[in-house]
């Protein structure tokens, strides 16, 4: 297995946010994590990336056989973990060009840059400052393609984004998976997952994985929402 999270328990301060979460993603695989707002999806993404405020109480994060649970974020990034942020921060005074030059190691990225709908003028703008929702998300995806990660975690790349952007983003993710990267797609809508067809779907609720399955599981979420997961059994039966 390329990437796995094993029985991960995570706290912020003394408050436990994730309990015993286990997931795995193989090379070239697209795996979806779904769940309502506040279920712990972003916490999982941050914990995988090594956010200093998220304390790992128990469990491990394994990439390519190496334990990366306690590595600093930049070390994880350098080993091939990428996180596309749900809300990328606006950073004043840091030009987009500076960051792109850094992560592409000065390789030419203009074709990809334009393909993702950016004009050259964007290079000299401050990072994410005044960008639209779609621009921010497309920029995350561009950085993902440039970094060629082993495992890409995308935190709601489809929220607040117009339909054309969604198509571009879906295409980019597909391309990455075809190049044998693992993709962990966090979303609470099923729209993007329709374009991508994940091989496995996890459902998260209250900081736990409460269900897993194939695309069928998504269909059930589509027809009856997350409400039934709360009850705990509905998903296992036909109809809601």
């Amino acid at each position: 297995m390329l990437f796995s999270v094993q029985r991960l328990t995570v706290a912020i301060g003394n408050k436990v946010i994730l309990s015993n979460v286990s997931i795995s993603v193989d090379r070239g695989e697209i795996v979806a994590i779904m769940g309502p707002n506040g279920s712990g999806k972003t916490t999982l993404a941050y914990a995988i990336m090594g956010h200093p405020r998220y304390r790992i109480i128990k469990g491990r994060v394994i990439l390519d056989g190496d334990d990366i649970t306690f590595l600093p974020p930049y070390e994880r990034a350098r080993r091939g973990v990428f996180l596309a942020f749900q809300h990328p921060p606006e950073i004043h005074g840091v030009k987009l060009k500076y960051l792109l030059d850094f992560i592409s190691k000065n390789k030419d990225y203009m074709n990809m840059f334009k393909y993702l709908g950016f004009s050259e003028e964007f290079l000299h703008r401050d990072l994410n400052v005044g960008f639209s929702g779609g621009e921010k998300k497309r920029l995350e995806v561009l950085q993902m393609l440039l970094m060629k990660p082993k495992i890409a975690i995308l935190d709601e790349p489809d929220s607040g984004v117009d339909i054309d952007s969604i198509r571009l983003i879906a295409k980019a993710i597909k391309k990455l998976a075809e190049e044998k990267s693992g993709v962990l797609l966090i979303t609470h809508y099923t729209k993007l997952a329709r374009y991508l067809v994940p091989s496995r779907v996890y459902v998260m609720f209250n900081g736990r994985i409460v269900a897993s399955g194939d695309v069928e599981l998504m269909n059930k979420i589509d027809s009856c929402g997350y409400q039934c997961i709360d009850i705990g059994k509905c998903l296992l039966e036909e109809g809601c």
Binding site: M49, P52, A77, F85
Partner: protein, 413 residues
């Protein structure tokens, strides 16, 4: 040294008032009398390649040699040691101030013409003992696109460098003056208090950029007064890349003329236990005059920085805006901001925004998630916060400033 009689008697007068004058209101208290006021003079050189090696190195450090400029003057202690006026158009005067005082009698009008002579002990001390400096005059209608540069170097320990610079932009003229101030590392307990007076006539425009890189064992009190006539424009960029142990400055622009404008920007870096007290003041004395003050400060280590800003309006249709932000990095660092807005006319519109904070955790995490180490990410964020890119300086200088800021930030962490 020969000088005009009026100047000798002005010095005597200043000296007689020195004891009873008040101490400077701001900045760390230091005793000026302890510094050596006897001018240290140096020989002139004819070419930039003949500069003493430590002076050449200082020039390099300030990136002044990398810029295509119309002219360059180099001042070491009390002497003007180099004047390279390569492309200076006819009619522009760039001259050692002592020479200029003998040649142009009208300079007495401009000598403490805008900066108040009797302000405090420091202004009187300067008036009594000043030596050297540069005189720049741009004639009517001449708009210079390339900058003029001057570099002030303190090279003697315990010495008080007190140059007096006068800049006159005649009507419809334009000039960008870039000044670098520094001292070789080995200088101990030295003092720099350059006084710059700028006169901007009708519809003229002056940009004054000052870059300072000081050794730690020094004290600096740069003084500046600016007068702007009708439709004139003053832009100041003050960039303190390495502070001395104590520094205080409070450039003050008087917008006398109708529709005159002023933009003052400062970038301040506090290191070690330096005490930096940096202000900017604009007096909106002309109808419809406008001013903007932007200040950015980063306090590392145990440094203390005070950011003072003041806009005072007495005329209708005036507008003033202050944008003052500080970033605390050092555990024992301290930042304070003192914005003052004074409106003595009901048709004044004055605004200030200020904020002090630390580096945003989310921004740091984001950059680290892209593979930047914590030091690299912090350095980049600090550089971005100070954002020298907004100053519209020649790209060579911007690049060098960015490089120094990032290096300083990474070393300080």
């Amino acid at each position: 040294m020969k000088e005009p009689e009026w100047l000798t008697s002005l010095r005597k007068r200043a000296l007689s008032m020195l004891d009873k004058a008040p101490e400077p209101k701001y900045g760390a208290k230091i005793d000026f009398a302890l510094f050596d006021k006897n001018p240290v003079v140096h020989d002139e050189v004819s070419d930039i390649s003949e500069l003493p090696s430590d002076v050449a190195k200082a020039l390099d450090q300030l990136a002044l040699t990398k810029v295509k400029a119309l002219g360059l003057t180099v001042h070491v202690d009390a002497s003007t040691i180099l004047k390279e006026l390569l492309d200076v158009p006819k009619g522009v005067v760039i001259m050692d101030i002592e020479e200029a005082l003998l040649k142009y009698d009208e300079l007495r009008k401009y000598w403490f013409g805008v900066f108040p002579l009797t302000l405090n002990k420091l202004s009187l001390f300067h008036a009594a003992y000043s030596r050297g400096g540069v005189f720049i005059r741009v004639p009517r209608g001449m708009r210079l696109k390339k900058p003029i540069q001057s570099c002030f170097i303190v090279s003697s320990s315990k010495y008080a460098q007190l140059p007096h610079n006068i800049i006159i932009a005649e009507p419809e003229s334009e000039v960008h003056i870039i000044t670098g101030c520094t001292a070789p590392r080995a200088v101990k307990e030295a003092f720099h208090a350059g006084l710059t007076e700028v006169y901007i006539m009708k519809n003229a425009r002056v940009t004054l950029t000052t870059i300072e890189i000081w050794p730690y064992d020094m004290h600096a009190r740069p003084l500046a007064g600016i007068r702007v006539e009708e439709g004139g424009e003053f832009i100041e960029n003050y960039i303190l890349l390495k502070p001395p142990r104590t520094l205080q400055t409070y450039p003050t622009a008087v917008l006398k003329g109708e529709k005159s404008t002023c933009l003052m920007r400062s970038i301040l870096v506090g290191l070690k236990k330096s005490n930096v007290d940096s202000g900017s003041a604009v007096y909106l004395f002309g109808e419809k005059s406008r001013a903007k003050i932007v200040s950015r400060a980063v306090a590392f280590h145990e440094s203390r920085i005070a950011q003072r800003t003041k806009i005072w309006s007495t005329k209708p249709g005036t507008y003033g805006y202050v944008d003052c932000r500080g970033l605390i990095i050092g555990e024992k660092a301290s930042l304070s901001t003192y914005p003052a807005l004074i409106a003595d006319h009901k048709e004044s519109n004055l605004v200030h925004e200020s904020a002090i904070g630390r580096i945003a955790e989310e921004e740091l995490f984001y950059l680290m998630a892209r593979g930047l180490s914590e030091e690299e990410a912090t350095g980049l964020l600090i550089r971005g916060f100070l954002d020298p890119g907004i100053l519209n300086l020649p790209p060579e200088i911007t690049k060098e400033i960015e490089r120094v800021i990032q290096l300083t930030a990474e070393q300080a962490l």
